[in-house]
Symmetry: C2
Subunit: 248 residues, 2 copies
DNA sequence: GATTGTATCTCGCAA
DNA sequence: TTGCGAGGTACAATC
């Protein structure tokens, strides 16, 4: 695999950009960003990605996050001169742009990618509230759901229902251990409801400070097991889903 | 550029992974994720990235964000059989993994990338408070800074100072238009300070709801111009910085 | 290790 | 378009 010539690469880039192809470029470059903030990235070897929807990313050799990026839609411009290729990526809606000067190219790919595969995530907060709607006893014995994702004045409450004593009960779900922010959010929902309404935080765990705050405000915490929920999901929806089939 | 053979690619992958090289792979694949949640991604053409620190990303042809990822450090495993390559990326610290089955490869790159370039960002909240420390009159005529990034009981306050009347003043900076969350944060800082302390939110703008909440709680809003701050930065630090030089 | 606050957060949803 | 909350948020600083 020979090192691609800069001018050739420039031509390929121009064509690929106008054809809205998926492009990856491993190259020596420097980059400026101006927009909500300003940044400058000195010369070095990185991976550039231009996606079919003009999403743009610059990745360094290490670190999960891109060092520069632009969400779509963007105007993408390519200009070539003797010394380098200049790539300009400017957001359509915002005054925000990244300018890359490319000094040398190690590898380039461009082409249309075929990806119609469905991406399915399980056990998001939405999924959980769905399960709990069908199995209200997991919230509490005698609990009945009256509405899911109810739009209250103060925000969207995951579950609203009544308990065994017909007391109105607001249920907030957290997938992760609940922290202070979760309690604050719940407290906002509970504003003005008075002591006749129960407020319950449902999560796999709760931080120490969050539990204290809950108690202080007369709210309740109840633990739920994500594994139990997943097992229910598996039992009810079957195991045709390869993810669950493979890992449970 | 011929379509690489699966077995050859598998061998290259194994070598590159053990040599901790930077790897990009454009391939037909499907992926499972199990960890904090669960997900399954059906077959399709995507870009896989394995970085030198084992950061792992799967990018679809469109959309800024990766569809699957794993922050470093990871164990990366490669196994090859007749039908496909199986890539296993498991986080070292968490019980969380992504498994990719690769059915065909359109393009592969692997190699060490040389990137010592410095990345410098300007006008983060930190930068702004630095400027304001040197130019307290931008906060308010007669304002004097007593401390920057002061650690209070309730959190880190951007700037603490006294106004022309020697009244203690807490200043919170937001780079973007300030919303409700900013006001809530500020309110937490102000808890228990009483009316003798002024609380000021400094931002390029404020949302309607946030302004109402500010007024209700007796706090103040003051507009700052990011452009003015940048001009000061340029005047004081000179224009040796290419980012500023090029765009101001 | 757990918690907290920030982010050029991104993204989706609703008013 | 703007506001607002969710995220497998990631990440750094701090306790």
């Amino acid at each position: 695999m020979g090192k691609p010539d800069l001018e050739e690469v420039g031509e390929q880039l121009k064509k690929a950009v106008s054809a809205k192809e998926f492009i990856t470029l491993i190259c020596l470059c420097e980059a400026d960003y101006v927009g909500r903030a300003r940044s400058f990235l000195e010369k070095g070897e990185r991976l550039l990605i231009i996606k079919e929807d003009t999403s743009f990313l610059i990745h360094r050799p290490s670190g999960l996050e891109p060092v520069n990026w632009q969400p779509p839609p963007n105007y993408v411009g390519v200009t070539v001169n003797r010394e380098h290729i200049v790539l300009t990526v400017k957001r359509v809606r915002l005054s925000e742009k990244v300018i890359v000067r490319i000094h040398g190219v190690k590898s380039i790919f461009s082409g249309k990618l075929e990806d119609k595969g469905v991406f399915q995530m399980y056990l998001s907060e939405k999924e959980i509230s769905e399960i709990l709607r069908r199995h209200p006893e997991l919230v509490e014995e005698g609990f009945r759901v009256t509405s899911v994702e109810a739009r209250e004045k103060t925000g969207v409450v995951d579950i609203v229902g009544v308990d065994a004593n017909n007391r109105r009960t607001i249920v907030e779900i957290k997938k992760d251990r609940a922290g202070l922010e979760a309690v604050r959010q719940l407290a906002r929902y509970a504003v003005g409801t008075g002591p006749s309404v129960r407020v319950v935080l449902l999560a796999p765990g709760v931080t120490e400070g969050a539990e204290k705050m809950l108690r202080r405000r007369g709210m309740e915490f109840r633990r739920i097991s994500m594994l139990d929920l997943t097992k229910i999901l598996t039992r009810e929806k079957g195991v045709e889903n390869s993810c669950i089939k493979r890992f449970l």
